[in-house]
Symmetry: D2
Subunit: 365 residues, 4 copies
């Protein structure tokens, strides 16, 4: 069902070309100061139209809070935040299915009643309310020593050579770890300084060819204390993956070395454990800070694969759903040649919401 979370409950709603999109967030502690400027910065990171690397659709993505925040602080009641669709252009939906999009499946599922203009409820635009919710979670977490960062690990065939921060000692304050992480990134592109230019070129090359390109985002939770996550079905990995796979275009999720672990020997994969000053830690972090579905106090590491934007200018073989015959689809309009740069804050939002839900579940009596 379209509700996520255990002690946090998220309900998302909206269609790309409807009046508004938004989210209801229930379960945040009361009395949490929420910095609107911080939220606006997060929204801006995801917003389109900032450079030649993203769609020209120009949405300010201004969040209007309808409930649950009063005098700058959470009231304890559910928060509803909406974003009006100001740049929605009222045009007819095209009967030609767009390959790689949800048009086809929405049509099967909802029998033609789905509002598919611009992707409708399946639009990547729905990640805006998710980023909003994540910005609240981040602020709650930050006060409790938990920080979330993400960056681009690859765009198309360009992979970041700077590596995963997989062997961090886990003993540094989360704030400092996050600063170190961010300091290594390029100013205008959420990837390491050494990879940023090549990645941008990869995006530009795809766009120039009327094509699009995918990539991988790498996220980390610093400062999550050991013990977060619940047994079996409640594993932290299950929780994070269920949220990440809700994000449009995500087709793979892994933790720690993930698929890489499948090719390793146990003697390499196991993270040796040691004690120092009464603190137990691991020498490496191949398991990404999670063992048996539960955090061990090391940085939580995840990698998320995004497929190339399905909207491309190149002609595609498709079907006209009215005539039920083959056709050639030629898409015009504003499309991201690559969603990955804008997906970085989305991955962070997912990790923040997952970490907060985990913390709340682990709260004791």
């Amino acid at each position: 069902m379209n509700v996520w979370g255990n002690r946090l409950k998220l309900s998302i709603f909206g269609e790309s070309h409807g009046p508004a999109i938004g989210i209801v967030i229930d379960g945040l502690p009361s009395g949490e100061a929420m910095d609107e400027a911080m939220t606006a910065r997060e929204m801006a990171r995801r917003a389109p139209g900032k450079s030649d690397l993203s769609t020209a659709r120009n949405e300010p993505d201004e969040v209007k809070v309808l409930s649950g925040i009063h005098g700058g602080k959470t009231t304890g009641a559910p928060i509803c935040a909406v974003i009006c669709n100001t740049d929605a252009r009222p045009r007819d939906y095209d009967a030609k299915l767009r390959p790689g999009h949800a048009d086809w499946t929405a049509l099967i599922k909802f029998g033609g009643y789905a509002d598919l203009r611009g992707g409708g409820h399946f639009s990547g635009r729905l990640t805006a309310p998710l980023v909003y919710a994540g910005s609240l979670a981040k602020q709650v977490l930050s006060r409790r020593g938990v920080e979330i960062c993400a960056k681009i690990a690859s765009i198309g065939r360009i992979s970041d050579a700077s590596g995963m921060p997989c062997a961090l000692p886990g003993k540094q304050p989360a704030k400092e770890s996050a600063e170190t992480f961010l300091a290594a990134l390029a100013n205008d592109f959420p990837a390491s300084r050494q990879s940023a230019e090549a990645m941008k070129e990869e995006i530009r090359a795809a766009r120039k060819q009327g094509d699009s390109v995918g990539g991988i985002v790498e996220g980390v939770i610093y400062g999550l204390r050991g013990g977060i996550g619940e047994p079996f079905f409640g594993s932290l990995e299950s929780s994070a993956a269920s949220l990440l796979f809700a994000v449009p275009a995500v087709k793979g999720v892994e933790f720690g070395r993930g698929f890489g672990l499948a090719a390793m020997r146990g003697s390499d994969a196991n993270d040796a454990i040691y004690a120092e000053n009464g603190v137990i830690a691991s020498r490496t972090n191949n398991n990404g800070g999670i063992l048996g579905g539960i955090a061990n106090g090391m940085p939580v590491l995840t990698r998320v694969a995004f497929k190339p934007t399905p909207s491309i200018a190149l002609p595609q073989e498709s079907v006209d759903t009215e005539s039920h015959t083959g056709t050639t689809l030629r898409l015009s309009g504003r499309h991201d040649p690559c969603v990955v740069p804008r997906a970085v804050p989305v991955v962070e939002a997912c990790l923040a919401l997952c970490a907060l839900d985990g913390l709340l579940q682990a709260a004791g009596i």
Copy 2:
């Protein structure tokens, strides 16, 4: 929380060395004939002790049904099935943390009260009740034209060259597709005939060195009709991933070409759509039968990464939790050099439960 599913509800319980493990399955339709022989075959596929490739722990894994099945048919009431731990050897739990295991995190979470003998609730043994539940789901699905298969895609550095069945037409009856899939497998090992021997050798090599090895399992759902899956948080990928990541040792999940899509161009990744005899299908299946989180009627394809068994004979650096000092861990006893062959029916069980929960959710009024 430790309950999975929407219209199906699974509650799993038990500890490796406690009296019994088991599962409660709620939400199965009534009147479904359940073939005990089929269930026994499924249990045997997962059971240890069958060859030199798996642990010598000899558990018959005999399922006792306590409720919900009467006269060979489901009654509509919740099914509880238990498996007694007959080969549990009552020994003290070792205070040395086993790297890569949940000992460490269980200790943090439960403050030393966890029953960690043999991994306790975090043991891979808990997948036995999951396979049982999956065997029921498979029978319900099979009557509705849905079939589930899985095989090993890689063991350590040995990858199956036979490829994913990603471009299947999706028009063949599921039963035939499944038979074709299974016909390509080796008799005694759930991998393609051409890869099976090399994979076995990889496992034997690891075992000989006191080591272990990981691998990838590839699963497919044939015959799932389009429209299954719910919007956003209820995506089929979220549902499947949340269940798969509950399985011990799983560290990565992808759908269709998954992480491979991240390196592709949109023009290659998009699956061209065509119509034939009034049926809409796609030429390729890079998206693994799921668009926007919802099945499109093509085979649903998933790949699951398993890390190497953390229990290895080689000495490992660890910590003694009583003295809080470093120590060298030397594990003796019965361990799987590779869990992947036994994980094949577990992946199938997860896919079956996910498909059935999806079908039930999509049922209309």
Copy 3:
């Protein structure tokens, strides 16, 4: 948690004096035509300010649909509907606790951060979005032969002598049963013609004395087919009661003869069963159409007790939460002397949502 339902999911939000209140409704079938005029009529039944019997607060309660309805039909995506608080008067919250209100408990729970102006999230105003959701459910149900009605059974010490429709044959079409039910009601007051005037007088008498009065609402679901409801924790009574007890001021819920059954003998309480023209029915309906938590096809009968409005003009002993000392509270302003007439559509909404969630859960594959 603040989400209700199984296959329907409701998330409610808003505070009495915040920007807006609203609801997200997920799980409605797609393609359902939604009649705005019908919805407006339902909203008007609950709205205040219509007569001397209710508060003078004048809220048009105009519903704005943000998502999920397109071209007058449900799209299958979540519906978000908001109602702006146009008559909210920005005044400071009074530090004196209002006896019988949630001021006290909200203060304990949220540590003073709750927006308690006008009751905040605990205001009866939150029933407006519930009535909206109910109006959608009613339309979906009506097309499937299910009708919901409710009336006032008592106001203060005035009880309706016309009795419960407990022995209805259950064989009449639901539409006709509902028409018969409604035909017996007064034109301007949702109680039987013979009781309406006395009930109104009871309300006016309370108001004249600066006091308020409670009452009982009786609701019925006609045409719900047998088999709706799930075993044990999923009983139809559990589902309905959990929703009804969420409604502010509800302090008691019973089904069929309810508390009256406690004083009866089994031979009187049991509803004799007979068969006629191949249909099985019961001679009486003391069990209110529910046996073992599951509908038997007879009308589902429920009675809901509402306490008197806690806001009264009479002076009351209270506590000033700033000085933590005793004080006398004198409330001025717009208050309902009795919420019961306006609660009738709220009870109907709850029954409709419960019936629809039950139908959806019982849908088979």
Copy 4:
């Protein structure tokens, strides 16, 4: 669905004449010592066969714990407890519907596949695992200053004149309040000393006539701190009612003065608030310790109506489901003339589970 709770999750299973009944309880804190003797006493309170007032079915109701408790303490993993059906007599199910029972509805719902021998999954026997779960919850609560008591308020037409403990100061330690409550009860019957004999006579009179009789159970939670309960759909009353209405034979639930409040004026119903020694309390407790769905720190008061046992010796009009014709049903065998005395610990169990789930949900970070 057949799972109850938010941070506690209960899954119940079993059929009256199947191999066993039981429950899975997830979410209890780890390290909680569980006193088996206390649990056995609770089970004995509910068990049949103790006097001439209950059924002669002789079930020891011996609980076998399969998981989650190790060395007398909770491990943190889910607890599964089963009770074998030792006195189940394998006989054929009678095709005649028993009025007032779930035979009819189970037949509609499950199409004849339900195991209806002895009521099957709808049997009152399923309350045994609930009492077991409640006994664990009570022990966890007692260590945190929360105590649960219940007694019979009426049997048939015999009402207890000793009144509800509705005006308790709420300032006394819960332990003492509970002792006072229990001290007023008869030794061998869970009702006040002055009412016990008359109530027993009422039961005997019914039995002598081949009939049965209903009654009301009154429960109280002492020591629940203010702030427990969640807004709107998460109200404490919603939570408690949803659990109580799952109990077979429950047809009404009210809190505080409940239905009585409907006949009161606001000036009488509102509980005046005062402060004493820095503690805020109410002079009366008409609201039963709950305002706006959230505990205010006063004793939580609930009353639960049980209908008469539907199984009676007197002949009843019914239908033979094989011939679909009318018939006269004559039940022989072991039946409770009144379930109410045995229902007292069941109500306590529900209140304990609800209180504990509420406490866990309110736990902060």
